[in-house]
Symmetry: C2
Subunit: 264 residues, 2 copies
């Protein structure tokens, strides 16, 4: 596959090979275009809408990767629009306070979304959201007509506090598993757990695995596989201590201390 | 390990088990505290500073996960401060235009950082930064005194355009590998490639693997392993097409089409 268009300056040649090339489009055409593929998804029909609206709920003290991992998987799905939503439009600070993401819209102005995603947060942020009845009202309202309602990390405790998980299998951040029962959910192992139209993901980075799964649900496996390549998600961490089953007690304790010390 | 403090309301019990618990601190104390561990890192000595300053350079059209993946790994490293830097302080839009991160400081106000990280971006954003001589001056200035200079995805083409990679092994986004030679670098396979004090990561999500490696370089393996658990980075994508070596031609072409169609 050649993507050169004959101009030899780097800035003209298409640094992401193929973006300016007929070759890519031709090959896609042969295999079924992204647009055509996405049109076959049953969920798209269920949504009854030309555009899939994804609302990601930000709140003071959320964990950045919980939101950005799935965002990166979903934001290039054809005919999909991801919007960050918060109590008020504007900057929303993460759990460590070192980063702010901009919420584009306020909750009160968002009445409908085909996909709702609630990220997890630090102790303080999660607890505040578990008590926030106004946020719960909004979550329930969006959930009523959503195609998918999803959470990452302790986000499951938040949608659980809104009453969405009663009697249902779910997962959450590894250290928070015991608290799922407090919202009536049944802890179930897995990087993500799907039950009806609800998908809960395990901690932080698990949102990427769930996001990829969600891409296939919204379109098909072909698009999901291409999306995995688009974000070069071929994980190869230098260690293998990413779950409590793989980490000893000292590592678990140190992980919790790192979290607590970095919380604002 | 019990973390209950005797109060039975969920909001008081510590949703992230152990954050309020003596048990965690005691266990960490037995195994060497995070602070003590971080003090042993040779790089901390090299930095000659109490606090490790991490500067992540944002620019119009950057890719969110390139910045947020490593941020999430680094933001809880003891005595480390991550700062988003851009031409001007304020919101900076990503490649799809659907998300903005807030840059806390302007380049001209940041004169020193122990760690510099340059994320990749879409075609337009990367090309603009490859031509931005003012940004190159800043990158070179920070690099001169940095302990680590790093990039994710097409960020290597940007630091390469600033002259940092001449004759050196490096990696980049899979589809951009042919363009490394244009900045004098030698494409080298790997999730990340370390050469001297420069580390370049492969595409988008590879920044998480590099970020974890960087944690161990800044502290030690014990902290890095705990950080992997802290973000529950136990990847298990539903597919296995995250590199061009694992994806057929049609998947590669569709990935490039998805990227091109979503670019603003």
């Amino acid at each position: 596959m050649s993507t050169d268009d004959g101009k030899r300056t780097p800035s003209r040649r298409g640094l992401l090979r193929g973006t300016a090339a007929g070759a890519a489009v031709a090959a896609v055409g042969a295999g079924g275009s992204a647009r055509a593929a996405s049109g076959t998804g049953q969920d798209r029909a269920a949504a009854g809408s030309r555009q899939v609206r994804v609302a990601i709920l930000l709140y003071d003290g959320f964990t950045a990767l919980d939101a950005v991992g799935p965002y990166e998987m979903l934001c290039r799905v054809p005919d999909t629009r991801v919007t960050m939503v918060a109590r008020e439009a504007g900057p929303v600070r993460t759990d460590t306070g070192e980063l702010s993401l901009l919420a584009e819209r306020a909750m009160r102005d968002v009445h409908r979304a085909e996909v709702l995603l609630v990220p997890g947060g630090g102790q303080r942020g999660t607890e505040a959201m578990m008590r926030d009845t106004e946020a719960h009202d909004w979550i329930r309202r969006i959930h009523r007509r959503s195609v998918w309602t999803t959470s990452v990390c302790t986000g499951s405790l938040i949608i659980g506090a809104a009453g969405l998980l009663r009697g249902l299998p779910a997962t959450t951040y590894w250290a928070s598993r015991p608290y799922l029962k407090d919202v009536g959910a049944v802890y179930t192992p897995g990087r993500f757990v799907e039950t009806g139209k609800i998908i809960t993901a395990a901690g932080v980075s698990a949102g990427m695995d769930m996001g990829l799964h969600l891409v296939s649900r919204l379109t098909d496996e072909k698009v999901a596989r291409a999306m995995q390549l688009a974000v070069e998600y071929d994980p190869d961490p230098p260690y293998d201590t990413g779950s409590p089953e793989k980490a000893d007690a000292a590592t678990q304790a140190l992980a919790l201390k790192l979290l607590a010390d970095a919380a604002r």
